[in-house]
Symmetry: C2
Subunit: 376 residues, 2 copies
């Protein structure tokens, strides 16, 4: 494999699963970030994609970007319909699609799965041809203009089935996920919503509330902020309008998690408030240790420093400086597992914290220092 | 300035403030990460540094690393004493140092400032020669073995004075901070503790409790974790023993902040619980928007995407690949403002999210794609 190939592992991992299954077309309803990205990805695999959106401008834009062609009344019934609308209209649009295209499999990509499903059941809709799904992909900014064929590459894609889901319907939706490069995970809607409540919705609320606390702070206090505050509040910059919908649609699990978190917080505050209370210090230490253990469970993250050692290298803030450092690491045969950059406000200097396997860290420092780098 | 120089801006920024002021020696009590780093930094500036620690092994190790020499009873009285012990013994050690070296200025580097000060006042200690300080520097792992002369470079260093602090005592402590490359900030002990409570202690507790919630989660749920969870829980891997001390010593402000945060959380949960309640949706949207505004106040952070635009480039997980990307960005004259890496568990592929000025982002994407890179 040459260097150019190694930059593009996508096509190597594609198995053309969908192209083999879909004889007709895929119809995408909702031509925003996710819908247009599905269209772009499938078009790259040679699938015929039609598009539809409430906004004529949006659908025309997505078509211009190559995500598919605008669907007309002459088009034959699609094999698969992908509903990629905002979560609060997902059930409506799925119901309409099932009625309009009775032979098609219908899926959706909403980030909550139980509420739309229960709403469809409540309405008595026949869900034989419906398979809900949720690709764990997204960007801070939405819209077709940000869409990319590679948006789903190597991301988890949850597919929700029940015991009545026909194998062929499931296979078509899973083929889409695989063709777009995603990693498949099967869950029930309940499992999905509880899971994303914990790993995505709770952190979002906590981060937003923490960031909101900074509004009345003095300039001086905020001047003491370090990487800890920056990391903890990063997702607080997400789109409020989208999150009102997501949190509303996953109300049950999120409220339960928020209540439990509030209890944890009160228990912690009480132990801290009254140090004379028996075991107060122990309660605090146990909760902080539990945090150590919890963070160590997150896959693909290297901050827990269980598996990796970090070294910190001083760099200046000029273009190419970090590139030179990483190129030299490559020359030294050091595989970087993670990298974090920190800038010092007001100083023309930065810190690159590089995670690597513990057995190579000492050599990395020695070799870098020998080459004139300064490590902390 | 040639490339080699530009890697070492430290010495250029040093003004030798301390070397001019300190005629005698600096005595460091507590030869852990901070104490040994102070010693190393001052030794590099030609200052005579003596060391002391409860542990003979620790002090010998710090001396071996070049942080100073072990103090003996023959040594004359130092000009400055730096107390770098754990926070729960800071007041004791400061009191003893003031008694033992009546002509010396005494400072400490504890991460809480009011509790040790009040304890000293309560004991009736004459604090004319005492100036508390707090360098905002540290690493996940402590100990002399992790110490570095550059630990304080470009970090905020808070110096706490009151109206009785003599100008000369203050000047000596500030000269140390400047000589070690830090940025000086003057605050009262109360201001300091409230500030670090908000920007450091509250985020630590929230992050730890959030990570602790992951312990009972299923493997499948944690498999859905993305960058949001990783960022939000990163500081949860900090040392529990140290944090028990820090939080205990800053009990008042931290409890107040935790209580306020718990109220925010309950208000949010209540609005989510009862969507029929008047203005519930608005309450949620307002709190999420407040999070947007809060995160935008953090200096030197680029996650709020107010000032910078991010592009995402696909890279594979081989040594040197990221280096090549950043080198090419340098060749294109693109100054990277921030960089975040994300790995996909189970896939030989990573994402580099690169923040830059909005006006160069489009050109960066075009030029990178032209050079064969894949952007998302």
């Amino acid at each position: 494999m040459n260097a150019a190939d190694s930059r593009f592992p996508v096509s190597e991992r594609s198995n053309g699963a969908l192209a083999a299954r879909v004889r007709g077309s895929v119809h995408v309803i909702g031509a925003g970030l996710l819908g247009a990205s599905v269209g772009l990805g499938l078009r790259e695999r040679g699938v015929d994609v039609t598009l539809e959106d409430l906004s004529p401008t949006t659908v025309a834009l997505a078509a211009d970007y190559g995500a598919g062609r605008v669907r007309t009344s002459e088009d034959p019934e699609p094999t698969l319909v992908v509903v990629a609308t905002p979560p609060d209209v997902t059930a409506d649009v799925v119901e309409r699609a099932l009625a309009q295209y009775p032979a098609a499999v219908v899926t959706d990509v909403a980030s909550v799965k139980l509420a739309p499903y229960l709403e469809l059941v409540r309405r008595g809709v026949d869900l034989t041809n419906y398979v809900g799904s949720h690709p764990m992909a997204g960007r801070e900014r939405g819209g077709a203009i940000m869409a990319r064929a590679d948006l789903f590459v190597a991301r988890p894609w949850v597919v929700c089935r029940d015991h009545e889901t026909p194998a062929e319907a499931l296979a078509i939706v899973e083929a889409v996920a695989l063709d777009l490069g995603a990693t498949l995970i099967e869950m029930t809607p309940e499992e999905h919503d509880r899971s994303v409540g914990l790993v995505s919705h709770l952190p979002q609320v906590v981060s937003s509330l923490l960031a909101a606390r900074l509004i009345p702070a003095t300039e001086q206090a905020i001047g003491l902020a370090g990487a800890g505050l920056r990391d903890t509040t990063r997702v607080a910059s997400s789109d409020p309008e989208l999150w009102v919908q997501i949190l509303g649609a996953n109300r049950g699990p999120v409220v339960e998690l928020l209540d439990a978190f509030a209890r944890d917080l009160s228990g912690f505050a009480d132990a801290l408030r009254d140090p004379a209370q028996a075991g107060a210090r122990r309660t605090i230490a146990d909760l902080l240790s539990a945090g150590n253990n919890g963070v160590a469970r997150i896959p693909g993250k290297h901050g827990s420093s269980e598996r990796f050692t970090s070294i910190t290298v001083l760099i200046d803030d000029t273009p190419g400086q970090l590139g030179r450092l990483l190129t030299e690491l490559g020359e030294l045969g050091i595989n970087m597992e993670d990298l974090r950059l920190e800038h010092s406000p007001g100083a023309q200097i930065g810190f690159a914290e590089i995670a690597m396997l513990p057995e190579v860290a000492e050599r990395a420092v020695t070799d870098l220092v020998e080459r004139g780098w300064r490590t902390l």
